[in-house]
Subunit: 155 residues, 2 copies
DNA sequence: CGCATTTATGTGTATATACACCTTAATGCC
DNA sequence: GGCATTAAGGTGTATATACACATAAATGCG
């Protein structure tokens, strides 16, 4: 046979391409629902990590989100500009605590049912069993990707 | 029980958050491998859709990638700037064909084993069965997200 | 105490992503 | 043929994302 169509495998075999492609589409669904409160899914996720919690540092929030620290800094900017969040100096004066303002809390209360509608739409489209399987696989993958790389062991 | 910790569900129950979080991490793995040829995983995916194929239009490539059309335009720019691709006018003079240059083909040949190494690392970390399950669920989800929204039916 | 190191953060730069809006070319209908 | 409609493409603007590099504060050790 001599590999009849090896060329296709360079894309169809790619886990990351599939992951990103599905993430693009799914993000649009959530963003369209959340547009009514002018929040993106990423901004919603940040707020979800900030309400009902001791105000975390940028570093801690980055870990919770699985984001690069500098990405968190940039992503917080529009929310701070809208007065939904503010940064407060911590006891350790290197760090900053991220505090949700009353306006932020109010917008969060408005956003919750919109997120719920988006989430319900997704579960309806994918099916309950498939959604649960997907959650399990994504969480497991995220955890395993966070483990130390063999090539990255300390010298 | 009266919902002991309802607050957590606003994030932990979110399919899109999990999807994006895992995509961020996994992208870093591929990008680090592909850095040797100065390509990102997204750029690699574009090239994979362009080699060994009749040069597609921007519109067709966007459909293959599951990307917005305008995102494809922007993402092609750095590759065109490096001389890896070029745009040619089509018979239909509204459209443009995206053609891989010899330099682009040569870089593609260099990139393939690097992608392969990244993909192998992922499959090793996640496990073969989990990787296969993930592929299936992601493809199925992408397909179902592409179906017409009930709210978006034509007037 | 004093300095090297570590830790927390921010900035410059570049790509990734999509929506609203605009231009141009092909199509269809009379 | 002529004009309304549709289809392909690009630009302006804004967020998302991360790496390299810079800054400032806390820590640790001699």
């Amino acid at each position: 046979m001599s590999e009849p169509e090896a060329g296709h495998n360079w894309l169809k075999g790619c886990t990351c391409f599939r992951l990103r492609r599905t993430a693009r589409r799914m993000t649009q669904v959530y963003d369209h629902h959340l547009a009514a409160v002018d929040l993106t899914l990423t901004q919603y996720s940040l707020l979800a990590n900030l309400v009902r919690r001791e105000p975390p540092s940028v570093h801690a929030l980055a870990a919770l989100m699985g984001m690069d620290r500098t990405t968190v800094t940039r992503t917080l900017k529009p929310l701070i500009g809208r007065g939904l969040l503010r940064l407060e100096a911590g006891a350790d004066r290197r760090s900053r605590h991220i505090v949700v303002s009353p306006a932020g809390q109010a917008l969060w209360d408005q956003a919750k049912p919109l997120w719920r509608a988006a989430q319900t739409e997704i579960e309806t489209r994918l099916g309950p069993a498939e959604t649960a399987d997907l959650h399990r696989l994504l969480d497991q993958s995220f955890a395993r990707l966070g483990e130390e790389h063999p090539e990255m062991l300390r010298p």
